[in-house]
């Protein structure tokens, strides 16, 4: 018997719709579950005191500081490199075999799993350059990891700046570099900030690459050569070694809120950027 195409369509739509609904529900469940279990444990004291007894009691202050410092350091290193790369690719060259190779390399770098970054950071920065497990080793490793994100988003942002604006700048006698500094970059800024925020979000959530390069010392970092423990690493250790489920949930809640906030700013920026371009 042939089933009428109308019925097949209704069935297909029902199936596809429920799959979509299921997907959204699973992801919403993850957030609601963790926040529900964790938020009651998130108090001002939890955020502002040192952990005691390996994290079984007390707060997460040093890991909070680590979570702020490490991504900032990574961005400070990756931003000039990433924006420089995208300026060069868009403003200073034509499409050649070399630019294609550079782009291909960037795409490949983006696909490398974080554990490989961890291995590399360990053997190169920690052991090879004898820097030890520290903020700087971790920051450099994360910088390489987020470089592709920064390059890609700023390249898109720079390409979106209309060519006529550059031509106006040239016709006023500005050089290429002056045009880049005064016309292109200021107008691409929201797009570049999107990339920065995405990079920060990824760094905050990263564990494998951080634990082998920045270490996991549970104390306040004083210098760039001190080992730090980020919230992700702290959470991983609390959960994996079964130190405290309650503290683990609370840390996870703070972690999720931070990442979502950072990503939300990124998307807000992107939408403002797109809206302005459309005008």
């Amino acid at each position: 018997m042939r089933i009428s195409p109308k019925i097949t369509q209704a069935l297909a739509v029902l199936l596809l719709g429920s799959a979509t609904f299921f997907t959204v529900m699973v992801l919403v469940f993850v957030i609601v579950f963790v926040l529900g279990k964790g938020l009651p444990g998130v108090t001002w004291e939890f955020l502002s005191t040192n952990p005691r007894d390996m994290g079984r009691a007390g707060g997460i202050l040093p890991t909070l500081v680590g979570t702020i410092l490490l991504p900032l350091l990574a961005i400070a290193i990756a931003l000039p490199l990433g924006v420089g790369t995208s300026v060069y690719l868009t403003e200073y060259t034509r499409e050649t075999r070399m630019t294609r190779a550079l782009r291909f390399g960037t795409d490949c770098l983006a696909g490398i799993p974080s554990i490989i970054f961890g291995l590399f950071g360990f053997i190169f920065f920690v052991v090879g350059l004898n820097m030890g497990w520290c903020l700087l080793s971790g920051g450099l490793t994360l910088a390489i990891m987020i470089l592709p994100t920064i390059i890609r988003t700023s390249e898109e942002a720079i390409r979106a700046v209309p060519n006529s604006w550059r031509e106006v700048s040239f016709s006023l006698g500005a050089t290429r570099w002056e045009t880049v500094l005064k016309v292109v970059l200021p107008n691409a800024l929201p797009g570049i900030v999107t990339g920065v925020m995405l990079g920060i979000g990824r760094s905050i959530g990263e564990t494998a690459a951080v634990i082998f390069t920045a270490g996991s010392a549970l104390r306040m970092p004083i210098s760039a050569f001190d080992s730090v423990r980020t919230m992700s690493v702290h959470f991983y250790i609390l959960a994996r070694e079964g130190i405290s489920t309650e503290k683990a949930y609370a840390t996870a809640a703070v972690l999720i809120i931070s990442v979502l906030m950072v990503n939300l700013i990124a998307y807000g920026m992107m939408h403002r950027f797109i809206a302005r371009r459309a005008r």
């Binding site: 195409p5 109308k6 097949t8 369509q9 297909a12 739509v13 199936l15 596809l16 719709g17 799959a19 979509t20 299921f22 997907t23 699973v26 992801l27 993850v30 579950f33 963790v34 490199l81 990433g82 420089g84 790369t85 060069y88 190779a101 550079l102 291909f104 390399g105 490949c108 770098l109 696909g111 490398i112 799993p113 974080s114 554990i115 490989i116 970054f117 961890g118 291995l119 590399f120 360990f122 053997i123 190169f124 390489i144 470089l147 592709p148 990824r202 564990t207 494998a208 634990i211 992700s232 991983y236 959960a239 489920t245 996870a252 972690l255 999720i256 990442v259 979502l260 950072v262 998307y267």
Partner: protein
């Protein structure tokens, strides 16, 4: 060459532009430098195809880990790919545009949830459920597959959405004009036209699943054994590296870098295929 600001800027930028490629090469060189001599010493056959992993006794067979990684990655794709593609088709072709505007950014936002959080949920929620309903230790191939399947959903969904959205509307209109229903036009025309992008999304997701470490360590159970059932605990290649890295020295550490080489090569190949699938399509248009 004139030595002025313009030229300095140009050459400085040119140097900087090599940072990503240089990093990639540096990573490859250092992982290979640490791992390759070990591979030569032990021999490919005794490294890739032997089942005994006991670094203290000088046994370095990673075959169980290779099988485990394949099972877990394949399982993750069985869960993540159909759901993600179904979602992409529904949002593009059947849902009101408003729904797409809300759901796509929400799901991309959720792509930022740290992998350790997914792993933790796997331990707290999924593993006890598997233990109660299917038996076994709970921490297993199945638990890891489900968690990874969920984690790669945003990748599959958002790349597939872009692929389907880039199919020209005239294709759909042509099918509808011939009397096809919307669904017929979707599976006979749209999906075929968006094929390469959808395949690329699956391959990229495979790379992510294969490379994921912390979530897998938490839910897979980490026993070095070739799995026979989906409820068996396993240790993947990535988990092996991360678990032993802290204490390994000498040969044992070199073995981990050699494991890293295997992972690096497989993922480079996967990404190469995915990238050329995306690029090939861009050229055709």
């Amino acid at each position: 060459m004139k030595f002025n600001g313009e030229n300095i800027a140009k050459y400085a930028l040119m140097t900087v532009a090599f940072s990503a490629v240089a990093s990639l090469l540096l990573i490859a060189v250092f992982i290979f430098k640490e791992g390759l001599p070990f591979m030569m010493k032990v021999g490919l056959k005794d490294f890739l195809f032997a089942s005994d992993w006991d670094p203290l006794a000088g046994k370095f067979g990673i075959y169980p880990m290779i099988v485990a990684s394949l099972w877990v990655t394949f399982g993750a794709m069985l869960i993540g790919a159909p759901l993600g593609i179904a979602g992409a088709i529904f949002l593009n072709e059947f849902a009101p545009p408003m729904m797409m505007k809300i759901i796509k950014p929400t799901i991309e936002l959720l792509a930022g949830i740290p992998s350790v959080v997914f792993g933790f949920l796997g331990v707290m929620v999924l593993a006890p459920w598997i233990r109660a309903t299917l038996g076994g230790p709970g921490l297993s191939v199945l638990a890891a597959s489900i968690i990874l399947g969920i984690m790669v959903l945003p990748t599959v969904l958002s790349i597939s959405i872009d692929a389907i959205a880039s199919v020209p509307n005239s294709y759909r209109e042509g099918a509808l004009a011939l009397g096809a229903t919307r669904w017929q036009s979707v599976y006979m025309v749209t999906i075929k036209a968006a094929r390469s992008g959808i395949i690329a999304s699956i391959i990229l997701a495979m790379g992510r699943a294969l490379g994921e470490t912390m979530a897998v360590i938490m839910v897979a159970g980490n026993t070095v054994k070739v799995p026979h059932a989906v409820t068996d605990p396993v240790r993947t290649l990535t988990a092996n590296i991360a678990l032993e890295m802290a204490n390994a020295t000498g040969m044992a550490r070199e073995a981990l870098f050699a494991t890293g080489i295997v992972l690096f090569m497989v993922i480079m190949v996967l990404n190469g295929i995915a990238l050329s699938a995306i690029k090939g399509k861009a050229r055709k248009k």
